[in-house]
Amino acid sequence: MSDAATYNFGYLDEQTKRMIRRALLKAMAIPGYQVPFASREMPMPYGWGTGGVQVTASVLGADDTLKVIDQGADDTTNAVSIRKFFERTAGIATTTHTSEATVIQTRHRIPEAPLREGQILVYQVPIPEPLRFLEPRETETRRLHALEDYGLMQVKLYEDIARHGHIATTYAYPVKVDGRYIMDPSPTPKFDNPKMDMCPAIQLFGAGREKRIYALPPYTKVVSLDFEDHPFERTKFDRGCALCGSEGIYLDEVVTDDRGGRMFVCSDTDFCESQRAAPSEAGHGLHEVPR
């Protein structure tokens, strides 16, 4: 009963895969719209990537190569756990290299290396509804999407500016898809938002607990919400990675002691490693890692 060999390829039964595949095709045809799907109970907790896992299991084929990242890293515990799950239930090839992967499941980041046509990026989504924190009722938010009534969101962002002088949203920053639906990009930092726009890869979003799937086809206009006098600004770091020297990428802050010591390193571990392996391309020398 607990023998993995008795489970189907990719764990899900074929009927479940068909149901999810139908939802994915609808999601692809209505970019940014949240398609309800009959999310199944998975052998991992809700909130830990069950939506992403169900989407990945439904698209994955025997000749795919899978990469799994959490916080940009391949070796964070949850990424390891999900990668193991697919190695065990689908027996497929896995990689940590963004360029080698055909399917990438991610939590909270978009890889730094540009994605290409033919790749599929699967996002794990906790709360798919961008209006949820403004209006807790599903019946109401569904109506607002139907009417394309996004006044609530405009007001919220504008109040931010009035109060703080900024739009005080730094992650899960809402976007408008092809001029129609407002969409939650999952809790990626707003730094990653511009990568979604006109991306050549297919982007799929799975929210297991909330039972929603949505998608961005390749080459889809994805605009971060802003105002003419307060344009969207990407988070900027005033330094490069302490390990590979790259600039213009997203950094993790690592606390090195209890006296204020800290260093900043690439959040995307594969990107960092590949930059260090090819220092000439990075244009920076290797930095000594402080002990």
């Binding site: 009927q15 895969k17 206009k221």
Partner: protein, 199 residues
């Protein structure tokens, strides 16, 4: 049930279905892009192997299928689909999850199929249209999945098809999604695609 109905299904149900689904996903992701769809199925005529592959991969007892008159004329087609998918066959276009069209020149208007509601635009029909030829010239399209412009046409289709496509887009997010197949290829026009110029 006829002997044709138990004509075999997928040789490898798990992996064949996955390959067909990925072809459909890629087609939806790249409107107008024509891709090969190999099918080993030999369903009763006039159902094409490619259509049968799509339905075996996507339809089951939770879905309903509408067949046009040409397909309905051969009861073996219905038997084949019932046997292999478990799907309900419906005569109501507005109730259909999938519709299969074998006589595209005379196909019913797109607006007569389910196009969902403003709250649930996904409750709509996906049309599988069997045509003789797909080509990357003719009509021009833009929209999600298309970098700039895409030329695409399918034949035969009704004379007012470009107008129907434009009307389908005008209802967005409601509308139907189209998958065109020949005996060896497929291409899709999801409802998000805009027709910018007719042939």
């Amino acid at each position: 049930m006829s002997v044709e109905a138990i004509e075999r299904g997928f040789a490898d149900p798990v992996h064949d279905a996955q390959k067909v689904f990925r072809a459909a996903l890629d087609a939806m992701a790249h409107p107008g892009r024509i891709a090969r769809l190999a099918s080993s199925l030999t369903p009763p005529s006039p159902l094409l192997g490619t259509s049968a592959s799509l339905l075996l991969a996507l339809a089951d007892y939770e879905t309903s299928i509408w067949l046009d008159d040409t397909l309905s004329e051969n009861p073996a087609v219905s038997d084949f689909l019932r046997f292999h998918t478990g799907a309900r066959l419906t005569r109501q276009r507005r109730e259909a999850d999938f519709a299969v069209i074998a006589a595209p020149a005379d196909m019913p208007a797109l607006a007569t199929f389910a196009e969902g509601t403003p709250e649930y635009p996904d409750r709509s029909t996906t049309l599988i249209v069997q045509v003789e030829a797909l080509a990357n010239h003719g009509w021009h399209f833009s929209g999600p999945g298309i970098r700039e412009r895409m030329a695409f046409s399918a034949a035969p289709v009704p004379a007012d098809f470009p107008q129907q496509l434009a009307a389908n887009r005008a209802h967005f997010p409601r509308g139907v999604d189209l998958i065109f197949v020949t005996s060896v290829e497929l291409a899709a026009l999801p409802r998000s695609t805009r027709i910018v110029e007719s042939a």
